[in-house]
């Protein structure tokens, strides 16, 4: 019989092996899935994982998708370390995109180096505002942050839809629900000429490094860690739970807001309803897969960015539904959590305990 037994000490090997194991299991499942659908699995997996990043343009596209994921994930890491279950990165992101766009459409004809920073700051502030609502509801009215942030995501989406159908709609846009194209000086500069890769990736990497500094070198990072691991211990030490909650949420809102602002001022150049293919939700997977560590989330954001372009590639090359991206992400997260159980537990083989017969030695009755 297989028994699940608590390890005396958590396995630090499993902590880092688990994401790799989860990826392997996901790839195996993908292999089986391609077979079941009557497609060539090797070809399919190649199109998903390798073809998209086999040239410079592809790598640039990877970086393009990494930027918002990494920014959102960096903010969420700060929240999750303190066990604040902020699911609202999607809403912060959308508000960031909306806030930046609202300013950018006023500055279409403006020129000067000040335009872009103003637009980005507007996005950051909008994201922080959205996070502040959830923080206030948590610290002052004791509302569960999971439910409030989810609801705020839906509200943000409807606000954005309202804006592109109403006040921010391009009057000469042939009725399409989208804003005017932003002015040249409100657009993020490209990192690599000839590709779409823009400064957003640098923001993302900077955010990841800041997270590392925060938790490795600062007192507030230490306090966040303590409050996440033992709420009572943090209270005894006199760490202000309210202050830390506000800090974590505002950081989460700022980074996701910047991500949203970078998306509209980067590859899109205007506000459109489909500004996010779910970056804020995927960022949750990035944080768990990256073990809430700066280097981990950089690697995980690259992998999950690949699932977005891999899905598009499969759609073009093999006529598969684009939803394969979401399926892959879901499978990965499912396997990750399952493998994570073995950080705390191990499997023991034990023969089922039989009733001792009169002749048998009573040793078999010994309980583990």
């Amino acid at each position: 019989m297989l028994l699940l037994e608590r390890r005396p000490v958590d396995s630090s090997l499993m902590r880092w092996a688990s994401p790799v194991l989860a990826l392997v299991l996901t790839v195996i499942t993908g292999f089986v899935l391609f077979l079941a659908m009557g497609k060539d699995p090797v070809e399919g997996l190649t199109f998903f994982f390798i073809t998209p990043i086999s040239d410079l343009i592809g790598l640039a596209e990877l970086g393009l998708k990494m930027a918002p994921l990494l920014l959102c994930a960096a903010g969420l890491t700060v929240c999750y370390r303190a066990k604040l279950w902020n699911i609202g990165a999607e809403g912060h992101f959308l508000m960031g995109a909306l806030g930046a766009s609202a300013v950018a459409v006023q500055l279409v004809d403006a020129s000067g180096v000040w335009v872009l920073p103003v637009v980005l700051v507007a996005g950051v502030l909008a994201g922080m505002l959205w996070a502040a609502i959830a923080a206030g509801l948590k610290t002052h009215l004791h509302c569960n942050e999971i439910l409030t942030t989810i609801m705020l995501n839906y509200i943000a989406l409807n606000l954005l839809l309202y804006a592109v159908h109403g006040p921010l709609k391009d009057p000469y846009g042939f009725g399409f629900p989208q804003s005017v194209m932003f002015g040249e000086s409100a657009l993020l500069p490209d990192l690599i000429p000839g590709t779409r890769l823009h400064l957003g990736l640098a923001f993302g990497l900077l955010a990841a490094v800041s997270v590392w500094v925060l938790f490795a070198r600062s007192f507030i990072g230490f306090q966040l860690n303590v409050i996440g691991q033992d709420h009572r211990a943090a209270a005894f030490a006199g760490f202000g739970a309210r202050r830390l909650t506000w800090f974590a949420f505002l950081v989460g809102g700022a980074t996701a807001g910047l991500a949203g602002a970078s998306e509209v001022t980067g590859p899109i150049g205007q506000l459109v309803p489909q500004v996010s293919p779910g970056y804020g939700y995927t960022a949750i997977i990035v944080v768990f897969l990256g073990r809430m560590h700066a280097l981990g989330i950089i690697a995980a954001s690259a992998l999950l960015a690949l699932t977005f372009i891999g899905g598009e590639m499969l759609q073009i090359a093999m006529n598969m539904p684009k939803a394969v991206t979401g399926l892959f992400q879901g499978l990965l997260l499912f396997y990750l959590l399952t493998c994570d159980a073995f950080i705390h537990y191990r499997i023991r083989l034990r023969a089922p305990v039989r009733k001792p017969t009169r002749v048998a030695a009573p040793a078999a009755t010994q309980e583990a």
């Binding site: 699940l4 608590r6 279950w85 699911i87 509801l137 009215l141 004791h142 509302c143 569960n144 999971i146 439910l147 409030t148 989810i150 609801m151 705020l152 839906y154 509200i155 409807n158 606000l159 839809l161 309202y162 159908h165 109403g166 939700y281 949750i284 997977i285 768990f288 539904p321 684009k322 939803a323 394969v324 991206t325 979401g326 399926l327 892959f328 992400q329 879901g330 499978l331 997260l333 499912f334 990750l336 959590l337 399952t338 994570d340 159980a341 705390h344 537990y345």
Partner: protein, 306 residues
């Protein structure tokens, strides 16, 4: 009067998916397990129901398929959260993200197809009662099922031995175990029941409410249902009232437009989510009150034999 009756009838219809999923989650939470994966289970129920209805042409078979899809998802959750004792928050989120992805993948080829959904069936005599007859007894079969399920669950929880055992497990699994109850089995059954109800709620959306399939068609109803269970302080009769009130909030934009109000559809579509937050505020400002009603072991994994 005519208008009011129509509004009330539409409110019951809009509240039915919430009622179904919230009743399932209520049973699940009463056993001490918090399953945040309602949205994922509902989506799988919705897609399974729609695909089966389209391919077999039978709504009854479709409903069964949806229920089994919900149960299947719930068992995945139970494996993570009950057997492997994983964090229930994380496992529930996994279920929602996984269900969203899987349902979109399964349903990708069926977007834009349409079926003939459930028709209204008037119950003889009862449907002749003024107002109430039209509101409650001139509806589709799944609405009737939701009413029967409500009565059944109310009786089960408060007037049966099984309900007592379920509550015992949710309040104090150690004590229940000491009394010879199989805590993990009870929790598995409760989670599976919740999954079946969530699958049915999803099927209501894709077979009756709007007979079609679109990605993410549940639009947060699974999450609203979670708030609803807290709002109802884990009591079925309050779940019923809450679900219908939410139904009213979600059709308000139709009512206002019917009355000739000029307001943005997008802004009015926010209303159910805003109401949910306001409701959470009303409930949560006094944490002692919530704590008083919460099943004591809610959210805590149970490992036997420690």
């Amino acid at each position: 009067m005519e208008l009011l009756t129509n509004i009330l009838a539409a409110m019951v219809v809009a509240g039915t998916p919430l009622l179904l999923v919230a009743l399932g989650e209520l049973i699940c939470e009463r056993s001490g397990v918090l399953n945040l994966g309602q949205e994922g289970m509902m989506l799988m129920g919705a897609v399974a129901g729609f695909v089966v209805a389209l391919t077999t042409g039978s709504l009854a078979v479709a409903v069964f398929a949806a229920v089994f899809a919900g149960i299947g998802m719930a068992l995945l959750f139970a494996f993570m959260a009950v057997t492997l004792a994983a964090n229930q928050y994380a496992a529930g989120l996994v279920l929602t993200i996984f269900g969203t992805g899987l349902s979109a993948f399964v349903g990708a080829g069926f977007v834009g197809e349409s079926i003939n959904g459930f028709e209204r069936v008037a119950i003889p005599l009862l449907s002749d009662i003024p107002v109430i007859g039209r509101v409650l007894f001139h509806q589709d079969p799944l609405v009737y099922f939701s009413l029967v399920a409500f009565v059944g669950i109310w009786l089960f929880l408060h007037h049966s031995r099984g309900g007592l055992l379920l509550r015992a497990v949710g309040e104090d699994p150690e004590a229940a175990n000491a009394n010879g109850l199989k805590v993990l089995v009870v929790r598995y059954l409760a989670v599976a029941f919740g999954g079946g109800m969530a699958g049915l709620a999803g099927a209501y959306l894709s077979l009756a409410y709007t007979p079609m399939w679109t990605e993410n068609m549940t639009a947060g109803r699974g999450w609203i249902a979670l708030a609803l269970v807290v709002f109802a302080t884990w009591r079925p009769e309050r779940v019923l009232i809450g679900a219908w009130l939410f139904g009213a909030a979600s059709i308000l934009h139709l009512v206002l437009q019917g009355l000739g109000w000029r307001a943005s559809t997008e802004l009015l579509a926010m209303l159910p989510y805003v109401v949910t937050i306001l409701m959470l505020v009303l409930l949560s400002w006094n944490p002692a009150r919530t704590r008083l009603n919460t099943p004591l072991s809610l959210g805590q994994p149970y490992r036997p034999g420690r």
